[in-house]
Subunit: 350 residues, 2 copies
């Protein structure tokens, strides 16, 4: 069984050193620290996607505009440098580690492009989606194309274990999206299903790309596990916070309308917790909020419940586990930036 | 420049030994010879796609029903055995070669699933398409999923060159499909564009999977080139014949309605040759046969022209080049079956 109880319920035990470390105001901002590695990332992605056909090029460049948060490649480059220092090397990125940061962003973007077709979304990050601008056909192809370019770049790294680890991500992304199309009758199963989907759709990419940069610098499986567990726990926390923001953030902040998940028929953390207080939500969840007024009614129940607080609390526990894991690495500015990042994940408001 | 003049216009020079060999009535039927390797292929593919979610499983099993011609894996297993014998080994397949036969069929099927969504096709091989039965969303996911499972199986072979060679195929498939969505103003460019698209959409998979099984058994790049060139030339011939059959075969034979390409707005070999005799076709090609009566009028022009004969002749030249290449291998029943296969490609009527 892949999902152990540890996965579902992270330990809350916190490593003593990080209690002090992560509240240290002098810690470098992760974005600043990662900047030197990320500056040319989008240019490099565009080179990977170099295509003679103008339209395919425009399509692929469209999302790689360098205006995203680039949180995934940022975690990857910080993790790579922290692991290099832990392994008694210079903090400098190996070429393969840099490639993994790029591939991570490409896989993420390819999955967004297909998700937007599947959800029929017209906006993403305040921009019109590819399917909205160029139509579904070209959006399907653009997603396939970005993924194939990522696979080519992955093969060029030349490490078969890294290929395996990142191929697993692509499979997880598809399984996660497929899980999202289904719903679960039983309430306990439903929460497990939600966390499993969250892992596959969001955390697997971060966990496995952290593991991949570890594989390139260190042969110790315990170190790969630390990298993986940090990525997994931060990834799940990131998505839990995203699900909270869908209820608490206005349309302008998040770049997409609030309660978007309810409108898509999705019951995320806040709704699932709220359903424990308001069993009336059960029927609405089962019909995927498809009856007239369901979305508004469900929203009201969630706001009246402690669903948002409970989901935020769960996110915090995942972050604590991420901190516990990463604190096992030798101290470095990058390690500490990864600790600080967990705070930023929890406190972001968009 | 990837497409050399040799690519566009295969040499007609034929290797002396194959003149006698490929007309030999005693040559084993390629399908019979490949059968021992193909029997459990679809069961193995289903194992690769093992999924706990019932619906995703049904979707993925849907095309792997073992009722297809399996021409791609057949070529791969015959090529692998011919190459093994050429390299002084037993003809037995290496596990990696068998995996490549399976991956080839998986990549092919994944691309069909997405092509059917893009073309809005409701039937394929006499069956309803996945998008027709389960809807576009699930068809997009099913294609992604089959591709991700193929990538996982590819990584498990553990040979990075093989990963590179087959990742190139996925990129070619997408670029080919994208090319199909565009049309070319200039008539000379249009034919080159058509052949390039044909290579990318059909021949690249066969060429590169032949090369991949060669890489696993032999380190001589000349041998890889023979395998690749055989696959490329047979692949292009196969598609040229397919394009001819779209004009000459009834709906019942091919399992899809005739003139399907015209209805999709596509100008294939027969139309492009016909346009040299009937320049009236030019305007119709440019508007992708979208005006009322275009499909019928274009069809009439093609039938009155020698477009079908010229396309068939071109297919024959590609097959001759395929024979010339494969004849450089040491004789074996599998090599000779690959020679015989070129005849079957040319004479098939469905």
């Amino acid at each position: 069984m892949y999902f152990t109880s540890r996965f579902l319920y992270p330990t809350t035990q916190q490593h003593c050193c990080c209690r002090t470390t992560h509240s240290d105001a002098k810690l470098k901002d992760p974005f600043t620290l990662a900047q030197r590695d990320l500056t040319s990332l989008y240019d490099d992605i565009k080179k990977e996607l170099f295509v003679s056909k103008d339209e395919l090029k425009f399509l692929c460049d469209y999302y790689f505009d360098g205006k995203g948060k680039a949180i995934r490649p940022m975690i990857v480059v910080l993790m790579a440098r922290a692991l290099n220092i832990h392994s008694n090397r210079s903090g400098d990125l190996l070429p393969g580690q840099r490639a993994i940061a790029m591939i991570t962003e490409m896989i993420h973007t390819a999955s967004l492009v297909h998700d937007d077709v599947i959800d029929g979304s017209d906006r993403r990050r305040g921009k019109r989606t590819i399917n909205e601008v160029w139509g579904e056909k070209k959006a399907i192809l653009a997603g396939d194309f970005i993924l194939s370019a990522a696979s080519m770049a992955l093969a060029r790294i030349g490490n078969i274990t890294v290929v395996k680890v990142l191929s697993q991500v692509i499979e997880d992304l598809v399984r996660g999206e497929f899980m999202q199309l289904g719903s679960k009758e039983n309430e306990n199963e439903r929460f497990k299903h939600y966390l499993e989907k969250t892992f596959k759709k969001t955390a697997s990419l971060i966990a496995n790309s952290c593991k991949a940069v570890s594989i390139l610098v260190n042969s110790d499986p315990d170190i790969h596990e630390i990298a993986y567990e940090y990525g997994k726990n931060v990834g799940i926390a990131f998505q839990l916070v995203d699900d909270v923001l869908d209820f608490t953030s206005g349309a302008n902040n998040l770049g997409k309308p609030s309660a978007a998940d309810l409108k898509l028929g999705l019951a995320t953390g806040p709704v699932l917790f709220a359903c424990q207080q308001f069993p009336e939500l059960h029927a609405m969840i089962m019909r995927r909020f498809s009856s007239n007024g369901d979305v508004d009614r469900a929203w009201q129940y969630v706001i009246q419940s402690d669903g948002v607080e409970q989901t935020s609390f769960l996110a915090k526990r995942y972050c604590q586990e991420a901190i516990r894991q990463i604190s096992m690495l030798r101290p470095s500015p990058e390690r500490d930036a990864l600790i600080r990042l967990t705070e930023m994940v929890l406190t972001r408001d968009k």
